[in-house]
């Protein structure tokens, strides 16, 4: 099957059956996935190479991480509701559930920052280790969780932009769905960050 443009030229239909923006988002997600993988492999490299790697996380930190995981997984669920509503033409419902998703994203970021400031107060930093072991722990932990936090915050901003555009009819349900791919990706990355950064370093 072929399509014609305004100039009468023949074009092949995309074999992916996707809008270009959705395919572009998938390709971006693949590149971002290997970026996180590189950071996690670097952390693994430093950890394996250090005989006295610290394990600083006691139960309160793990519990906080559990709550963060619950919040982020729930935000993926609310995002799914929003996309289904958008696809079904239920605009106000979609906007409402986009709002819930953004709220959960903000809560996740707040919990994360609270954990960070707690660690700063204990003496941890990018190159500080109050437990007296290798300084690499701080660099690995804060850079990986910081990169993820940046993605969460960017995702909330993107969701806000999409919601405003969708509400004013400049954007449509496909934009909502494309943005939801990014949000689910951020959730999936946390499925690796939480066990590798928190559970592997539980005291």
């Amino acid at each position: 099957m072929t399509m014609t443009s305004g100039h009468g030229a023949l074009m092949e239909q995309s074999p992916y059956g996707l809008q270009s923006k959705k395919l572009a988002m998938w390709l971006f997600i693949a590149s971002d996935a290997v970026t996180f993988a590189a950071a996690l492999v670097a952390y693994g490299f430093l950890r394996i190479g250090s005989p006295d790697w610290p394990r600083p996380f006691e139960w309160p930190s793990i519990a906080n991480g559990l709550v963060m995981t619950f919040v982020l997984l729930s935000s993926s669920l609310t995002m799914l509701v929003a996309v289904r509503a958008a696809k079904g033409g239920q605009k106000s419902k979609a906007i409402q559930w986009l709002g819930f998703t953004m709220l959960l994203g903000v809560i996740f970021a707040a919990l994360h920052l609270r954990e960070w400031f707690h660690m700063f107060a204990e003496g941890w930093g990018l190159s500080k280790n109050p437990m007296g072991g290798p300084l690499d722990f701080g660099a690995a932990f804060f850079s990986i969780t910081g990169l993820h936090l940046l993605h969460v915050i960017s995702g909330v901003v993107a969701l806000l932009v999409i919601t405003i555009g969708y509400k004013s009819n400049r954007l449509d349900d496909n934009h909502v769905e494309t943005t939801s791919l990014y949000w689910h990706f951020v959730d999936i990355v946390w499925m690796f960050v939480f066990p590798l950064m928190y559970l592997m370093n539980a005291r």
């Binding site: 074999p15 992916y16 059956g17 996707l18 809008q19 395919l23 998938w26 390709l27 997600i29 693949a30 996935a33 290997v34 993988a37 590189a38 492999v41 693994g44 490299f45 430093l46 394996i48 190479g49 250090s50 005989p51 793990i62 559990l66 995981t69 619950f70 997984l73 729930s74 993926s76 669920l77 799914l80 509701v81 289904r84 696809k87 791919l181 689910h184 990706f185 959730d187 999936i188 499925m191 690796f192 939480f194 066990p195 590798l196 559970l199 592997m200 539980a202």
Partner: protein
């Protein structure tokens, strides 16, 4: 354009519960205090299962055309596998630091 509209909300909620259960299993396994290598293996396997479920259902990959899967996933896995070349050097660094 997708080949299928996807699962129902009930299925999505079920998958969400399943993912939470997997996270609970991860924490439970951690506090069994297994050897580090065993813990890492279990956590990585569970994380990949979670990622696969998220990719197929939440990100709707299961309901897209197969060519999307074959375009995105194999090359990503290939890059992840190529990164694994560093581990031998990490263990060498461990041995060197032990000798110091």
């Amino acid at each position: 354009m997708a080949t299928d509209q996807g699962p129902s909300m009930t299925t999505y909620v079920g998958i969400w519960v399943g993912l939470l259960v997997i996270v609970g299993i991860e924490v439970a396994v951690t506090y069994q205090r297994p050897e580090t290598k065993s813990l890492l293996a279990v956590l990585l396997i569970l994380a990949f299962i979670e990622a696969g479920i998220g990719l197929l259902f939440f990100m709707h990959m299961k309901y897209e055309r197969k060519i999307l899967f074959w375009t995105v996933v194999p090359i990503t896995l290939f890059v992840l596998l190529m990164m694994d070349h560093v581990w031998a050097d990490a263990f060498r660094m461990f041995s060197l630091r032990l000798l110091q």
